[in-house]
Symmetry: C2
Subunit: 185 residues, 2 copies
């Protein structure tokens, strides 16, 4: 597995970065499909360095503050490209705490159920709006060979996911609100 390894190699393949910058990426932009804390990133970088897949140069800010700017090596790039080409079976559907709750929702009264769903809905709509605003920065589909193409398609995927969740919640709330149940759909 070691997916974090390849996530890091992929980012360093785009451009040299420090551990701090990687951590930021993993907590903002990349958070739509991968994330990690700095407590996972620093040890992984050390490991990659031991394996000869990355190198670093030390940069000094001010008087003494050191930052290690990592870049990928030839060997690292080969490893990354090899990974990028394989492993294409679909993954297990991800775990989802809210769906687990909803699976057991018959134990909740209808008002509580709807409240929970409405609460989720609000948060997902908010997230969706943020993503759509980001998407406006793309007046057109980026060049297929540029980094931005990847940025764009995962962003589109994130938007579609949020829309799907909102639609699902609406459907579920519909089932909980109507006084008598009819046909599904």
């Amino acid at each position: 597995m070691r997916t974090l390894k390849y996530a890091i190699l992929g980012l360093l393949n785009r451009k040299p970065m420090t551990g701090y910058e990687l951590a930021k990426e993993f907590n903002y932009e990349l958070a739509e499909f991968w994330y990690a804390n700095h407590s996972q990133i620093y040890p992984e970088l050390k490991k990659l360095h031991n394996e000869g897949l990355v190198e670093f140069d030390v940069e000094i800010s001010g008087d003494i503050l050191e930052a290690k700017r990592y870049h990928i090596t030839e060997e690292g790039k080969d490893d990354f490209i090899k990974w990028l080409h394989k492993d294409v079976k679909i993954s297990k559907t991800p775990k989802d705490k809210f769906r687990l709750r909803m699976y057991f929702s018959n134990e909740l009264d209808l008002t509580t159920r709807v409240q929970m769903m409405e609460n989720q809905r609000l948060q997902h709509v908010k997230r969706l709006n943020t993503l759509m605003k980001t998407c406006e920065q793309y007046p057109e589909v980026p060049e297929r060979d540029s980094d931005r193409f990847g940025d764009f398609i995962v962003l589109r995927g994130a938007i579609m996911r949020q829309e799907m969740i909102v639609a699902w919640l609406d459907e579920c709330m519909g089932y909980c609100k109507v006084p008598d149940l009819k046909e599904k759909e």
Copy 2:
């Protein structure tokens, strides 16, 4: 956290089950939103038993084969219901290896990209068909207070997720196939 704990309690709240049966649930029906191997389930059951949240009776099949049929205790039910009512902030979007790959897809030639996407698409469509077949067993929305209501809404969620993924892949393949890129949408 301890979500597995509550997933197990929730199932045992529906009806008494053995570890083996729980493992089966977590690898088939529930797999759309939670899963666990028996290597995680047996230790957790032991723990829940130590905590007084579950009890078991030993059943014998044939001559000697023993199975522990666990049931939830009053204390366990209270704990479960308490959990069911709280913790409603939306979770981080789940990690997704394929999206990570697609994020870096500019490093792949267009043919390989489309192949990968088409491969994923086929698998997701297959999964979608299975789910839709399962959904046909529900001629109408189940009673809102029955177990089957939960089964049904998470099944609908699973179907919508698969549909979303297929739509996303179609969109992405569209971007990769056309000779010249136009407007997005």
